[in-house]
Amino acid sequence: MKQLFSFIKKEFLHVFRDRKTLMLLFGLPVVQLTLFGFALTNEVKNAKIVVADYSKDIATKQITEKIEASKYFDVEKSLKSHDEIEAAFKTGKIKLAILFPENFNENLLHLHKAQIQIIADASDINTATTLTNYISAIVADYQRQLMKDASIPLTITPEIRMLYNPELKGEHTFIPGIMAMIMLLICVMMTSISIVREKELGTMEILLVSPFKPLMVIIAKFIPYLLISFFNITSILLISVYALELPIKGSILLLYSESLLFVVTALAIGLLISIQAQSQQTAMFGSLMATMLPTLLLSGFIFPVENMPLPLRIISNVVPSKWFFIIVKSIMIKGAGISVVWKETLVLTGMMLFFLTVSLRKFKIRLA
């Protein structure tokens, strides 16, 4: 136990002595959160939108004027068909389209209710939500104005359609996404680099010749990064709750338990990479390839998995961060308990056991 403690102390000395690593370890979560949190969720300015007015009456004109007056939108008025609008969305020319059906004002006056269709490109969830909220607010504001003059209640119902991602899956998902990414990066990269460094320096041989057990080497390598990861999770959660005002709906204990599961998986992947890699550069490159790319592309963090072609959807199942991402999202945003996420937890546990077994076995083989 004392031996293990000496080793862990040494690992921490490595971490704290290297300023650059230290900045990376503790600065990365803050930078990432700031980037994603503020850059992505903050208000959108001059978003290109299309207003297709098939009614052209006083009410639609007034609403359009109100929208134009807002600095958030860059309005193009044209009578586009549904297909044309769809095409404009696909090429990314517009972020949102507003359709006034025919006889808007007439409906409003005689039937006391009218509809506006708001279509948004929900593949960029944050922008889509922000924009539709603005439009709805403007419409609601107009409705209140009308009500003041009229004795009968008038209702304008905005019918919102989120294109490409109708259920808005992934709202505020950047927090779980960042958690997954940072833990993977730190655990996989730091473990693999620190083990490969011992190989390069020749200190690994000394360790293997010493009575210190190889398994202990691994545990000693794991513990510092495990602690640092938990420190980072805590800071991410604190920032998200207090600075970004995104509450954690589910159990915090469950959140940490699932994180532990994921961190150990990540550490095992790092170990596996370190066994294959011969130099620190290889280890770093391998870690980036193994963590950043799949997490960014296939975890659902940035691109919804549901909208991917089938082969990619299948591949995404072997990406651990996808499962962790689902779990954290469910716990944080939907307030889910273990009874909801037990399947995902099981998959992640399986992955952890797989990577741990394979890497430990390979580590032993290399010794023989």
């Binding site: 004392k2 000496s6 080793f7 000395l13 490595h14 002595r17 020749g202 000394i206 010749v209 009575p211």
Partner: protein
């Protein structure tokens, strides 16, 4: 002082068809400085790794410090020290931290670590640098520190794998003084080297060529036997027969 601490009999390591070490038979006596010579690729490191419990022999038997290399590697590890040609210190830790770490993983108590650290720093005259990063030390000092750290737990045997590569002749001489000091305290030294002048410092020398031990005796006897004036001549005579290319 004539008890045997390393005993190898027909110790062999094969990698597929390649025989890296072929039926090595030798013994090393307690307190001896045993030179293990050979060109690069002759099989020195392979033999040493088998004795240290880092690699499992293909056939033959061997015991180190009285323990079997097949079954009792854990006991062997407790009784040996090892220093590689890379010196194997952590460059981003200080002298004291390196000493503390290695002493720690060998299970020395805090009190022992403190005593040892003071003793080591004294022995090396490193007082001014004790709190400096190892990175900033000259190579000769790193090498000496590396050796003293390898024997910090007073092992029965210390294995030195080309410990003097890359350092100047003065530092090498000083390093051998350290080995003699260690031998005086009863530590057996098993040294591989390819500096022939160094082999003169050993009590006995074995010379490996192409995976086989071709000669084993004291430097004086070897020179007599091969009627050579120096160990270098002895070695050149044997090495000429080598078929393997250096790698």
């Amino acid at each position: 002082m004539n008890s045997t601490v390393i005993k190898a009999e027909k110790l062999t390591k094969r990698y597929g068809d390649f025989v890296a070490a072929n039926e090595l038979t030798f013994d090393v006596r307690a307190g001896e400085i045993f030179g293990f010579l050979g060109a690069n690729g002759a099989g020195k490191t392979t033999a040493m790794r088998m004795l240290c419990g880092l690699s499992v022999p293909s056939s033959g038997t061997a015991s180190v410090a009285g323990y079997d290399v097949y079954k009792q590697t854990e006991n062997i590890k407790r009784n040996i020290g090892y220093m590689s040609q890379k010196f194997s210190l952590y460059e981003d830790l200080t002298v004291m931290e390196n000493i503390g770490f290695y002493a720690g993983i060998y299970g020395l108590t805090d009190k022992e670590i403190k005593e040892k650290s003071v003793q080591l720093v004294d022995q090396l005259g490193l007082h001014d640098s004790a709190k400096k990063l190892v990175r900033s030390l000259p190579l000769g000092w790193k090498q000496k520190l590396s050796f003293l750290v390898a024997i910090i737990h007073q092992p029965k045997i210390v294995f030195l794998d080309e410990p003097t590569s890359g350092v100047d002749p003065v530092a090498r001489r000083q390093f051998w003084d350290l080995i003699y000091q260690a031998a005086d305290t009863g530590i057996t030294a098993f040294v591989t080297t390819h500096y022939m002048d160094e082999s003169e410092y050993c009590h006995r020398v074995s010379i490996m060529v192409d995976g086989n031990i071709r000669a084993l005796d004291s430097p004086a006897n070897l020179k007599k036997h091969f009627s050579a004036s120096s160990m270098d001549e002895v070695f050149q005579g044997l090495a000429r027969e080598a078929k393997r290319k250096e790698d």
